[in-house]
Amino acid sequence: MEKAKKWPEDWQEITPGCMVSRPGSAREYHTGSWRAQRPVYDNSKCIKCGICYIFCPEGCISQDADGYFVADLNYCKGCGICAHECWTGAITMVEEG
């Protein structure tokens, strides 16, 4: 699929009503750029319960081949809910540098 521009360069390029005619294009906008803090997992404390996965409002946490959880930083907005909910304190929110 041809990669779309992030947004129109000029006002003349705005589609009528800002209509989007290509499904799924929101995926190309990486909301992770809004993040001030990132979640860092300490897998030695992780019990693989998946509560971070359940509570993530972005749906950007997934399970890796070993059963641990990882956040997709392209979409993680750094809200910290995963760290707040984690039973064992395996997730720490770290300032983005």
Partner: protein
Amino acid sequence: MSERVGMEIALAAAETVALCRPDVVAAYPITPNTHIPEHLSDIVADGRLDADFICVESEHSALSACCGASGAGARAFTATSSQGLLYMAEVVPIVSAMRLPVVMIIGNRALSGPINIWNDHSDIMSQRDAGWISMFAANGQEVVDMTVQSFKIAEHRDVMLPVNLNLDGFQLTHVVEPMMFLNQEEVDAFLPEYKPYAALHPDNIVSMGTLALPEIFNEVMKAKDEVLKGSKKVILEVWKEWEEKFGRSYKPVESYRTEDAEVLFLAIGSMAETAEVAVDELRDKGMRIGLLKLRLWRPFPFEEIRNAVKGAKVVAVLDRAVSFGGPGGPVFSEVRSALYDEKDRPMVINEIIGLGGRDVPVGDFVKIAEKATRVAKTGPEEEYEIFGVRGS
């Protein structure tokens, strides 16, 4: 073309909307527009119009239903007044932002409070900046004609904007007038079947009403402004076609006996009809006076206003809404602003008149004409005046 038929204007509006073959009508009753959707529901129930009449639970839902229906490719119509328009307000700028050609008739009524069911323009003026095309009719014939025109203008591919058509509550909605109606063949020939630019359908996926981030929002607002300003070209084309086909002329600013006029009334809505009578009486007495009737409110007709006031010494703008603590009525402040850069501009004075259904008889125009003549010599007396207030 049929003969003149006498009918209540609200019913005439409903009959004309039906001739425009809307697919969806969604409305909630509120005085004084009620007879329009009420009569449309009769027409649908009687099988004379193949449309979905949605009995919504509020005006917010009425315009939301029209928004969704229009997004799905339907020709959608609603009508409201006063608090009903305010209840729609959350949706009003969304319909224009989504470029959906919904047509709404507003039976203009004062906003509460205190509660008042009668006419002024405070309802539509509260939604002035929502990005809709906005027009005023001054009599029943104009309501009939402009209803059909509204759909054609709204749906034009270079426009795709909602239109609100304003008629004064009671003074127009509840009055019986003789009107020339179009027949179905004439309307069908003038107003083609609605072919949407895009419609919500699983076979051709589009997203409407999307998010716009700060990085693009200025450009989006610029685009919305430009399309509304550009719609005037289409409005003029549609009015030209109307005149060619049906012989009745429509202009953004109508002039009545303005030749050599030193004083001009500038009125909006039905009081312009009364003003014509006043102009006739004053002309008979030798006064050089004329009338401008503002038909097109958005997009605002700057050039037409500038040209229409040329040669006048005083323009008395008659507003039917107050901008409390502000620079005068909305029509006045915009007309004066439009003239600011002109080298030879007339003095512009503002009389706010006819609020909440207060009668505006011919004598009021005579008094305003006398005041305009006086201030032409002595200069302006105040920023604006609420006319005819007892105790002032």
